[in-house]
Symmetry: C2
Subunit: 553 residues, 2 copies
């Protein structure tokens, strides 16, 4: 392969929101930028996570030189442990916080030794990574320590923005480095790969600081408990909530495993400042009056087993919500999660809380650049060619229109699909091929039990088989099972008695849940899934895909 021709192949993240992963290949050597995961839609029954198809990399396992992580969000780093299981990757590059958070994830998977973790330093110029001279540019986003990546080679200079916004007053003071972007523009950028998430939205997104200002307006006038739910990686938002809590004499407790973990790592690395006596353990909150408490929690997306959902349904061991309490949902529902989030809000309202969310109060800002910010980027960088990434097709198309308005010739704007092979050479940029890319499903048994995680694609599926559990429930006052659950097995050699046992187990679980007045379909599905999966693992040592289907009549 010619060393003046760069191949760029998105394996995920275009035509969708999630599982971002882009291959950069030059002279047979590969550098991967990001290794993200996606969350399943409702029609993906029985699936916990979705990964990019690593097939292209697995087929070239000796040529992958490094993975570069732009920031610590799940849709950019979440697939890393799964990738490292399948493909040898000598180096993983990322900034200090990104590596800190990724490291703890690798640790859980027993993969700490799988790759060298090397700190990316935006201030220190170029480094050699595989066949590229690589430079990192600091970007503002909704998680600290985010970077853009510049890959230089004889084929030209490619700039991948990562997720970013033009926040001029970020909480940590570390702005998007517009100066450096302008310098790169002057040197000449041959291909810009830009975050397209908000390309359709006119104007600018607000500064993260606005959320802190909203907290300062809201929290001092709250009489009861204050709960703030946000993404577990949104360290600056937690910092802003903690600051207001400290100023208003509230103790802070953190519930939700991922949020506790992230906050600890961010504190240890110096990204969050919390006075030692400000934090209390969830078990100790009964020592304080509601008006002395601020609870930071996960569950801003209405996830079935998350802290806030359990609190909403009166099912959390430490935290409850009463009349007079205030819940701040500091996040926007990811498309598809709206009904779950609404369910949470309704339950919290029934418990007596006032719930403030982004539709009715300024308690959230987006982490992704809006159209005017994208125009600014295009103006700073003045790229010869543009390849919109990170977004559904409509967002990529809108980003393409912005590029054209900014003077990029239509023929130099590439709208790729996952698997598109885009070539950049001194003569320009074009799509030359399309490789086959699918998805890989991850099916986990309970939260945190990562050793038991099973990867599914069409191959492993035919090995482990599928079990479909169909339960019919109904009734107006609560839910009751109306007939025995049915179990359908496919590709499982053990059947007969085991099927009977599974049927009884499903019936038992369902009856128990109904006695506990647990009626949410999603919760019923989760519990059914875990009970059956555990039973089969115990009996056969195998991990078929379990698809719980709850039919309401």
């Amino acid at each position: 392969m010619a060393t003046d021709t760069l191949r760029v192949i998105p394996l995920g993240g275009v035509g969708e929101v999630g599982k971002n992963m882009t291959v950069f290949e030059l002279g047979g050597e590969i550098v991967v930028v990001d290794a993200g995961l996606a969350f399943p839609r409702d029609e993906h029954l029985g699936v916990d996570l979705i990964l990019p198809d690593f097939g292209y990399l697995a087929d070239r396992r000796d040529r992958v030189r490094a993975v570069i992580l732009t920031h610590a969000h799940e849709d950019h780093v979440g697939a890393l442990p799964f990738l490292l299981r399948e493909v040898r990757v000598p180096q993983v590059w990322g900034t200090k916080l990104t590596l800190g958070l990724a490291q703890s994830r690798l640790d859980e998977h027993g993969l700490l030794q799988a790759a060298d973790l090397i700190e990316a330093k935006p201030e220190e110029g170029q480094v050699e990574i595989g066949p590229f001279r690589v430079e990192f540019v600091r970007m503002a986003h909704s998680v600290p320590d985010s970077i853009a990546v510049v890959l230089e080679s004889p084929a030209g200079r490619a700039l991948l923005t990562g997720d970013w916004k033009l926040d001029h007053t970020p909480v940590d003071g570390l702005r998007t480095d517009v100066g450096r972007l302008a310098e790169l523009g002057t040197k000449g950028v041959d291909l810009l790969l830009g975050d397209s998430t908000n390309a359709e939205r006119p104007g600018f997104t607000g500064s993260e600081r606005l959320v802190g200002e909203a907290f300062e307006q809201i929290i001092p006038r709250c009489a009861g408990r204050v709960l703030v739910a946000c993404f577990a990686s949104n360290v600056h938002r937690m910092q802003q909530a903690i600051d207001v809590a400290v100023r208003t004499g509230r103790k802070v407790t953190v519930v939700g495993r991922s949020m506790r973990k992230n906050l600890n790592i961010a504190r240890n690395l110096g990204y969050v400042q919390v006075p030692e006596d400000a934090l209390i353990r969830p078990a100790d909150i009964d020592d304080f009056r509601p008006s002395e408490l601020l609870v930071l929690c996960t569950g801003s997306q209405g996830e079935p087993m998350s802290a806030l959902t359990r609190i909403a349904y009166g099912d959390h061991p430490a935290v409850q919500v009463d009349r007079g309490d205030t819940v701040i949902l500091s996040a926007k529902p990811v498309p598809g999660n709206e009904l779950r989030v609404h369910d949470s809000i309704n339950q919290l309202s029934k418990a007596g809380a006032e719930v403030l969310h982004q539709e009715i109060a300024p308690v959230h800002v987006s982490g992704h650049a809006y159209a005017e910010e994208l125009r600014t980027m295009l103006g700073l960088v003045r790229p010869k060619a543009v390849m919109p990434v990170h977004g559904e097709f409509r967002m990529l198309a809108a980003h393409g229109r912005l590029a054209q308005q900014s003077g990029v010739p239509a023929g130099s704007i590439v709208l790729p699909e996952n698997g598109s092979v885009v070539e950049l050479s001194p003569t320009g940029v074009r799509i030359v091929d399309q490789i086959e890319t699918g998805v890989t499903f991850v099916d986990g048994l309970g939260v945190g039990d990562v050793q038991a995680v099973a990867l599914r694609d069409r191959r492993t599926l035919s090995e482990d088989g599928v079990l479909i559990v169909v339960a019919t429930v109904g009734g107006s006052n609560g839910v009751f099972p109306t007939s025995r659950p049915e179990v359908i097995a496919r590709g499982l050699s053990e059947t007969g008695p085991l099927l009977d046992e599974m049927q009884s187990e499903a019936e038992r679980v369902l009856r128990e849940l109904v006695e506990q007045r647990i009626t949410e379909v999603k919760l019923l599905q989760e519990h059914l899934h875990d009970a059956i999966a555990q039973l089969i693992l115990d009996r056969t040592g195998r991990r078929p895909m379990i698809l719980p289907v709850i039919v309401e009549v």
Copy 2:
């Protein structure tokens, strides 16, 4: 029962958005306000529509004097034919347009003679309906000819707002009658039942006229076809789009059965003015250049079989979309429909269209009053007691807070559930009982075939049975069935050979769809459902509930 005690029982519409229906009972006589339906959530597999539980009325079938319809939206009138099948209702009251649209629906069900349709005239003072002196008050909303209902009796004066907003410049000039509301306030309103949909949202909703202004900005600069998708009942929005089309020399064609029907009725009744030569038939659009066309269409919610969805997937017999066309999605996704709407936008974008939707352009306004408008209502009416209706619990709670801020004592604010029995008497208002209310599922075979519609509740379910069809599909390039579909029958006496036949039919349908490259899970479900339902109807004359479960691997 004492004639100075009014019982108010919401049978639907509180704690949810949809299927609004409220019973007013005095001295054993019943008047029902609205008879709406709801659309199923994704977890309601195999269900087309959801109705309120008519049980309370069926048990008192000789006491129902009338149904009053506040306006023509499905969530207020859609259950009327089903109600009239089960309960004798001598009179149905509504304004001219509401009755016109309801009438055509009753006609389809063969129920034109089932009740007297009597025109409600907001300008003409009180009428006697059952035990009440009833008055209608004109309200602005997103469908013309909407009304509030005032029910007067020895128990007091109850005012139910219906859906409304404070549009001072409605397209038809017929404003919410704030003068009459103020007069009623002066006379004394004992109980206000108010639309709570947007109680959480601060400020005011925009006038419907703003959407017309947006059309005037957008449409003249469009080079290709213009498609405008909105709710089929949004007659004023259609009028505004038609006006701009006429002014800019575009012919108008209407696709989508419900929209064509509604527009015809509204034209015949004088609610829409369209020059005769402005309209063309969909079949004739090839006689015109794209720049000479404006297409009004259904499908603003991404409904699987709707006009816009079929256009988006290149599957519409008359209308296509090409590069340079513009699609205006003039609606907001109902919660739960977001992903479908996003899918439509992406498909239309891939076809080359620019898609303008409410997140990025001012092409939609809400038809429901925001918080400041609700405060205005509370200020005009100065009710002694308030019962928020029409909304999820969080919305009812927010409406309750607004009422309290407006001076209504906390003890006179009732947050009901479906089935709550609220008593209004000269001594005040309180919840005295809770009746059992479930839901009824409607399972229809194909669009428009209303004779074949089956009603499901727990009783009919046990008679007709349930069929669950589980099909596993997978693959990266398109969908292919990975194994034979499975069929589970419950409560069906005919099994054996028929089950085999169903399995083969399911396999055949799936194979055919895959050959046509139809891969959308929702479309696969619809087609599977209809094919199997037809087969069973042919073979047995019965209509079990069909639940198609598509599993992607």
